[in-house]
Symmetry: C2
Subunit: 408 residues, 2 copies
């Protein structure tokens, strides 16, 4: 499988065959110009895999969704933004009622509907706007997933969707998805809300194996602010409409599917991190030469999580000592005296640290490199052959402004 055989195509959650979606304003948010309720529908019931937040305080919808995903095939997803339905009495009953409303309107069982909520924690969510919005959602279902992707946004500033096309056993297959998330992003075995759909035929077990494996190198390697959300979820639906032979073991088709999934998820990670609350820059840290994969991941993630690295990148300041400091407390094993660090962007590359000691570099060049909106922080540990990549964003005045008064 060559990655060039995976072609990027337009669309997102409806790029694969057999999926429809819609997004409307139903009255959960005060701002009527923002959509707040989304629906995704698969005409053919789909195998489903999901990963959820490890936060001990969990959103009420997660329990309902988990029971439905574990129970059998999934036909639809209903998701609201504005209120997280978390830390509020009666949340589970309300989440179940959302599934019933969507199921009844679509003519499918409530148990085949996945539910998700995102927004403020600790405020009660009312069923009435949802009951009002569901008929409108069903009426406006279409092959364009953009309104749905817009309706799940909170502090996001851009719609996040992507899709690819590839071949499985001679059949053309598509995989696409949408994501939301801008703050409270520090996924732990899961992520913000991500809904992925494919028309590939993949057994439930292999679908879960693919998703659980991939998030370790994608969503779990991303952070905006170190805060693991209560409502994180990644859902992957496979309805089999592409007509390929169902993937039921780790064969070549499975590996191809994993490549496609990884392509889509990395793209969504970059979109999420680049649109981090207040962010002006996407940070991409690549650590090579680690003794183990675990060390590579710990080091890369620690760099993009460091408030000091993030603030330095905002200021286009080549303060590489903070990169070494962040790796030093990451728990990764390495010898500081073997570390090389460079910064790279569209404006070029500047080497700043060689074998743990300063390199005499041009401050002017460094300033130019770090003034671009995508910065690669490249680190070589000189220990072994493992590498990892992590995504984050800079820490800016706007992050403080947005989060100094998000609730009121």
């Amino acid at each position: 499988m060559k990655t060039e055989d995976i072609i990027k195509v337009n669309g997102g959650v409806c790029a694969a065959k057999g999926y429809l979606a819609a997004g409307v304003y139903c009255g959960i948010r005060r701002n009527r110009t923002k959509k707040d309720l989304a629906l995704v529908f698969s005409k053919t019931p789909a195998n489903a895999a999901a990963v959820y937040t490890r936060n001990r305080v969990k959103g009420a919808p997660l329990a309902v969704t988990k029971a439905h995903v574990d129970g059998g095939k999934i036909s639809a997803v209903i998701c609201n933004s504005g209120i997280a339905n978390t830390c509020s009495a009666g949340g589970k009953e309300l989440a179940a009622e959302m599934c019933k409303l969507a199921g009844d309107a679509l003519g499918v069982a409530a148990e085949s509907v996945v539910v998700a909520s995102t927004g403020v924690i600790g405020q009660p969510l009312s069923i009435s706007p949802i009951a009002y919005g569901v008929p409108e959602l069903v009426k406006t279902l279409s092959r364009d997933g953009t309104d749905a992707a817009r309706a799940i946004m909170t502090t996001d500033t851009v719609v996040k969707q992507t899709a690819v096309e590839f071949t499985l056993g001679g059949k053309r297959v598509r995989l696409g998805g949408m994501a939301k998330g801008s703050g409270m992003i520090h996924p732990d075995m899961a992520t913000m809300l991500v809904f992925l759909t494919t028309d590939a035929a993949v057994s439930k077990e292999m679908l879960q194996q693919a998703l659980s494996g991939d998030v370790e190198s994608t969503f779990n390697m991303m952070s905006v602010d170190g805060d693991t959300s209560t409502n994180d979820m990644v859902l992957l639906l496979a309805n089999g409409e592409a007509g390929n032979e169902e993937i039921t073991c780790e064969n070549d088709d499975f590996r191809t599917f994993m490549c496609a999934l990884n392509t889509v998820n990395i793209e969504l990670c970059r979109m999420l991190a680049g649109d981090g609350e207040g962010a002006t820059k996407l940070l991409d840290c690549v650590v090579t030469g680690a003794g183990t994969l675990r060390d590579a991941r710990k080091a890369a993630k620690s760099v993009i999580c460091s408030s000091l690295v993030k603030a330095a990148m905002f200021g286009a300041d080549a303060n590489w000592g903070r990169v070494l400091c962040a790796m030093g407390y990451s728990g990764a094993e390495f010898d500081p005296e073997k570390v090389d660090v460079s910064f790279r962007s569209a404006a070029g590359e500047v080497e700043v640290c060689k074998a743990g000691s300063p390199v005499d570099f041009s401050e002017e060049k460094a300033k130019a490199v770090l003034s671009e909106n995508e910065i690669l922080i490249s680190v070589s540990l000189g220990e072994g052959g493992y590498s990892a990549e992590a995504w984050g964003c800079d820490l800016t005045y706007d992050y403080v402004r947005i989060n100094g008064d998000y609730r009121t």
Copy 2:
């Protein structure tokens, strides 16, 4: 031992008998109005205990200091600010040379001098300003520790020193100290630079036991920005000049000494966190009712480390869902449905969450409570009898400004 028997007295590192200190400008910093070299001298060689950063990337002075502390009694401390002497070739030799310069000028062995540096990582430190500054330091040694406390400051905005007086076996004893630190503060088994002195007689073993035990509930429960520094160090010197019977086991005197040490260290923690880079507010999170001490500590520390909680406090926004979220990913064991949360300050108290669900509170009152400069976040877990306290600060525009361009 009642805590009221521990009396606060003026001064800091020279409050106890037999200690002298000085601070001068020697030319390491570009800004001539800031002092950058400090010296502390104990006429009677002192037993010494120390804890150091767990960051894998360690400042060169730490290795030299550790060898000297492990080797025997300590007579002096030399410390510069401006450059951290970390990630720079020849750093250890330079740190050893600093000890020799100070030792020669004071007429004590180089091995009886502790050395520390704080400032930018990855820039070479030159010996010449230090050689220039040491004679001036020795000439200006006095019983006032304020100049020394000023000379170790980096982005600190206030001098941090405190001292107490108490009684051991009928003898009046003093314990005091100075600290620096404002950013890159997230101590792990150690902290920023803290130098503590006492005239109590305490054996080296019991001194280390007291210090190692106390930092777990003081400096290790404090964070400004989640970044564990490369140069953290807490040093405690005991020269015995108070004439008390030497503490050599866990007797009543040891417990009294621990109480005094805890009083001084909590005061320094509050000073450090309250003067966090850009901070406008000191945050104090008290978690009670935890099932274990470990759970209480994890939960409290996670709350004061959360960027979202910190930004909400800056905005005086009673967004208590973020407090629950931060505890949820802390690793502490608890049932979200038993959690109570309230905010308290000089302006009063407001209960915001009861048994994991929202309380109907006055937003106006909450705004008033959270607009003060010291905020207590009080959490009850309802699980058991353990409690813990952690100290932090709000996340502000100024933190971003200071760290967007600290180096250049």
